[in-house]
């Protein structure tokens, strides 16, 4: 006996499932939700909602959840501290500690209010038709039946549900964090910040994890411990850890002086790593898709957003929902990847940083540490290269994707960091790719497919810039205990070396003459930076010109002409200006701008416009194609440094 045709079957009525159901229903689809438990039901959790989570809840039209407001997160690592101020995050700029029992039922109720149906049922297994998932076998108190739907959103949590997923389950075990928590009443004010404490010790061994204190009322807190399951942590007693953490807090924190444990210590597991990949007809959401933050284990915001994105993908592209979903996840959650999940590798690295990278979790000094903080707190991706014309943006996006993929292969953490790295304005990602894209567009070649070598070369150029930026911004050594530590400096070097190795591999695949030229320009650019920082050395002229050469190479790629062919003067002029900007870290001033605009007027119309567009984004100021009338003014104001650079 089958149900009349459903659009969406949602398995699991937690935050991800309810969000998916709500948004699908609001778009007019027929939605049915099943969950093995009747609601309301409890969940072992930190109970903390970030602003991002609250924003997602608001989009479900759920407001005024009963809970305790928090202003931010205090991260304490021994003597160091970091304060993550929710006031600097997105709306509503505060967080909330609310019992999952209350929250989950409120979200489910909302989904049902807009017309989703709900039933208590255990999903036994997914039903397949060839390659496509077409529904599931559900056990209810009224018997077992097959529920068919055009799309199945599975949001069953960290439990992996192997039986359910059958062939869709990952063949390697998921990677776990385990958490234990309880509720205690405190003396005086519980506070209005989320608090996390590192490091966590067990028998003299450093664990990968942290303790937390989340106030859930004026005089009570959710207190617990979360640990990544590494070899060191397998023989752990969570109960002991939680009790010890409470005692430790009691010894230094007046709130816990006379602690009353109001509830038993409960534990649960969290999968932190890409676990299940989407397949036709099947969209995994929430913890099942391994979306929990690899550092904090926090998964509610990602769960809500993934449910929403799943629904949107189903609505926008009913025949192609999984691909849309995959792309959308990539955009909104840059740290989420579906590339060859290397589960334990992924997990060990954030764990490693929590165990030994003291300053990394508390500092944002330097490019890498800054990116890591953005990653840890799941900041909204905000690429600084917004505003390019679509065909140019595409080229930049390809370079970005290539670099993320390559970094991810070395270490998933590096791939995640790379995506945030490339968003930092100081890094100036994408200039070469955009310049090449503009030349392509301006010479009418945007319609031509981008061949593999060209794509690889552009990625190599961008990698060279990333490496240079990382090395130049190498952070000061953290407090050294006389032994090698995993800190900002080490991580920065390691990522830079990984990116360098990838750039070199790309060069080795290119035609030798081109490879040699790129290599020479790259080394010149790096050597220049080393020389200018070294008091005894001075930079050779060919090194000072190296950045310009990198831009010229990008322009060559854009024209599709052989590299030996000369480029028009105006291209040289613009490349030189960009080269100086990159090399010296200076932005153009008013007279440079006038000169540039005059230069652009020498270009054929379309090319001039395309270049002007790219320059506007790079310089963060409008650049228009000048007229010949500006020529006189430009000549007078023209920076003589450009001429010096061009003289060979």
């Amino acid at each position: 006996m089958t149900d009349p045709s459903l659009d969406v079957l949602v398995i699991g009525a937690g935050p991800a499932g309810s969000a998916a159901a709500y948004h699908a229903r609001r778009a007019g689809l027929r939605v049915h939700i099943v969950d093995a438990k009747p609601f309301p039901r409890a969940k072992t959790c930190g109970d903390a909602l970030t602003p991002r989570a609250l924003a997602a809840i608001a989009r479900m039209d759920v407001h005024d959840l009963p809970g305790h407001r928090v202003r931010g997160v205090v991260v304490r690592h021994e003597a160091a501290m970091h304060y993550e101020d929710f006031g600097m995050h997105q709306w509503p700029r505060y967080g909330l500690v609310v019992s999952r029992t209350r929250m989950d039922v409120a979200l489910l109720r909302r989904a049902c209010e807009v017309g989703a149906s709900f039933e208590v049922g255990y999903a036994q297994k997914l039903c397949l038709n060839g390659d496509r998932i077409i529904g599931a076998l559900i056990d209810t108190e009224n018997g077992t039946r097959q529920v068919r739907a055009r799309h199945v959103v599975v949001a069953t949590g960290s439990g992996l549900a192997r039986r359910l997923l059958g062939p869709a389950a990952a063949s390697t075990p998921a990677v776990w964090g385990i958490a234990g928590r309880t509720y205690v009443s405190v003396q005086g004010d519980a506070g209005d910040d989320l608090e996390t404490y590192l490091p966590l010790m067990s028998d003299n061994r450093l664990l990968s994890g942290y303790g937390w204190v989340f106030p859930n009322g004026p005089h009570s807190v959710n207190i617990g411990v979360g640990v990544f399951r590494t070899r060191a942590a397998t023989a752990l007693s969570l109960r002991t850890l939680v009790e010890r953490f409470i005692r430790e807090r009691a010894s230094v924190d007046r709130r816990f002086a006379d602690v009353t444990v109001s509830a038993p210590i409960e534990s649960s597991a969290i999968a932190v790593g890409p676990v299940i990949a989407p397949r036709p007809g099947f969209l995994p959401a929430g913890d099942l898709a391994g979306l929990a933050n690899p550092f904090t284990g926090e998964g509610i915001a990602a769960a809500l957003e993934s449910g929403e994105l799943a629904a949107q993908a189903i609505v926008a592209a009913p025949d192609d929902a999984t691909d849309h979903y995959r792309a959308a996840l990539s955009d909104r959650l840059p740290r989420h990847f579906r590339l060859r999940p290397a589960l334990s590798a992924m997990h060990e690295r954030p764990a490693l940083l929590l165990r030994r990278g003291a300053d990394l979790v508390t500092s944002d000094e330097g490019t890498v540490a800054c990116s890591l903080q953005q990653l840890m707190w799941d900041h909204e991706p905000r690429p600084c290269d917004r505003g390019y014309a679509p065909e140019i943006d595409r080229i930049v996006a390809l370079a970005r994707a290539d670099i993320i993929a390559a970094s991810y292969r070395m270490r998933p953490l590096f791939g995640q960091l790379a995506s945030y790295l490339m968003m930092l304005p100081a890094v100036g990602f994408g200039w070469y790719a955009a310049f090449a894209g503009a030349v392509r567009a301006g010479t009418g070649r945007s319609g031509e497919p981008l061949d593999h070598d060209t794509r690889s070369l552009l990625a190599a150029l961008e990698l060279i810039n990333l490496v240079s930026a990382l090395h130049r911004d190498l952070p000061v050594r953290e407090r050294s205990r006389g032994s090698r530590v995993w800190g900002r400096q080490t991580l920065s070097l390691m990522i830079a070396d990984t990116l360098t190795a990838d750039a070199l591999k790309r060069l080795y695949k290119l035609e030798p003459a081109v490879a040699a030229r790129v290599a020479a320009a790259a080394r010149g650019a790096l050597r220049h930076q080393a020389a200018t920082r070294s008091s005894a050395a001075s930079s050779a002229p060919q090194d000072a010109r190296a950045e310009t050469d990198l831009f010229l190479l990008a322009a060559h790629v854009g024209t599709g002409l052989p590299f030996a062919e000369a480029l028009p003067n105006f291209v040289h002029t613009i490349a030189a200006r960009l080269g100086v900007m990159r090399r010296d870290g200076v932005v153009a001033n008013a007279s440079d701008l006038t000169a540039l605009q005059e230069t652009l007027s020498q270009a054929p119309d379309t090319l001039g416009q395309a270049l002007a567009g790219v320059l506007s984004v790079i310089m963060q100021t409008p650049v228009a194609v000048g007229t010949h009338a500006d020529a006189a003014a430009a000549m007078a104001a023209e920076s003589s440094s450009i001429h010096r650079d061009m003289r060979r």
Partner: protein, 352 residues
């Protein structure tokens, strides 16, 4: 011809090494004065082992095309030096071969940039090599990164296994020797059987090189090391001899395990000294010594048989092995006469 190449019996290779030296000097100064951040490149104490291996391996073949060979040999040395620039930043090393390290002399930022520069310089030197060779070079770069990363990730992890340590040794150290042999045999057009043997020689020698270094850290005097003795113990790098000692069930081994946990949290010179002693008492040095001997014998066995063209090169490779044996072993305390039953089969480096 400089003294550092005197051990090489093959006069052709000696001459070639001088030419390689000039290429390296040029890479440092690019026609001008050598900048302070590349002075380390020109240090006469560098033994140029890897370029030597490139050239020696090529001598087993029939090709006489010299220019790509010299460029490749110079490239390998720059690649090696670049890793040292960066390693010294990570280790906060103030000395390298008894001179100031680049990071100490010029600061970590300059050292990072200079190391990066050298890496791209290698691409210039390798650009004209056959595609297959370039592909190997690219993959070697990945392995170097992997090795360094893994070693860092395993720091202080007392549960790490010998297999894991072997893999790090292979990736971090043996890679460049294996690559040198690959490049030399490819450019020299060495026939396949001999080429495979030379590559295996490179791997075996590379592993031995690292093991010798590890043994020296445990027992050598500091002036020989150029860095404080017992650095590995202090940093939490558990080398093969240490791992062997830890697996024993003696009191020394138990004490060592306890000490190492403390050492990594709070290093103290007295604890380091005691740990070194404990490793010896638990038999780590003796075992490591025997393993090194075995590995060097295996390396020797891989040197292809003598023919009319390769006598000089062969002799030089044998010299290379012997010199390593001498440097490492003669300064160690003599092993006891008791034959230790070694489960060497499990540790002959045949990790995939």
């Amino acid at each position: 011809m400089t003294a550092r190449h005197a051990w090489i019996g093959d006069i052709v290779v000696r001459r070639q090494l001088s030419a390689v030296e000039q290429l390296i000097t040029h890479a440092a100064g690019l026609g001008g004065d050598c900048p302070p951040f590349h002075e380390q490149l020109l240090a006469p104490e560098s033994k140029r082992l890897r370029p030597a291996l490139v050239l020696l391996a090529a001598r087993f073949g029939s090709s006489s095309a010299e220019s790509p060979l010299l460029a490749a040999a110079a490239g390998i040395e720059l690649l090696h030096e670049a890793t040292l620039y960066h390693d010294d930043i990570v280790d906060e090393a103030e000395q390298r071969r008894s001179r100031r390290s680049v990071q100490k002399a010029c600061g970590p930022v300059t050292a990072a940039l200079a190391g990066g520069e050298l890496l791209f310089a290698t691409a210039e030197l390798f650009a004209e090599l056959p595609a297959a060779v370039r592909h190997k070079i690219g993959r070697a770069g990945d392995r170097l990164c992997h090795g360094q990363l893994r070693e860092l990730e395993m720091l202080g992890d007392l549960s790490c296994t010998m297999r894991q340590r072997l893999r790090v040794m292979r990736d971090k150290t043996a890679t460049l020797f294996t690559l040198s042999a690959h490049i030399g045999t490819a450019l020299g057009q060495v026939e396949p059987v001999a080429a495979a043997q030379l590559v295996r020689f490179g791997k075996r020698f590379g592993l031995s090189f690292q093991l010798a270094d590890d043994l020296l850290d445990l027992s050598g005097p500091s002036r020989q090391l150029g860095r404080p003795p017992g650095s590995d113990l202090r940093d939490g790098v558990y080398t093969l001899p240490i791992l062997h000692a830890l697996r024993r069930s003696s009191p020394a081994a138990r004490q060592l395990r306890a000490d190492l946990a403390h050492l990594h949290q709070a290093p103290q010179a007295s604890l380091i000294a005691r740990a070194r002693t404990l490793v010896r008492q638990a038999g780590g040095l003796e075992w490591g010594h025997a393993l090194l001997t075995r590995w060097l014998d295996m390396a020797r066995a891989e040197i292809p048989p003598e023919t009319t063209i390769n006598a000089g090169a062969r002799a030089s490779l044998l010299q290379l092995v012997d010199r390593l044996r001498t440097t490492a072993l003669d300064r160690l305390p003599h092993p006891t006469a008791r034959a230790t039953s070694l489960r060497l089969a499990a540790h002959d480096g045949s990790v995939a």
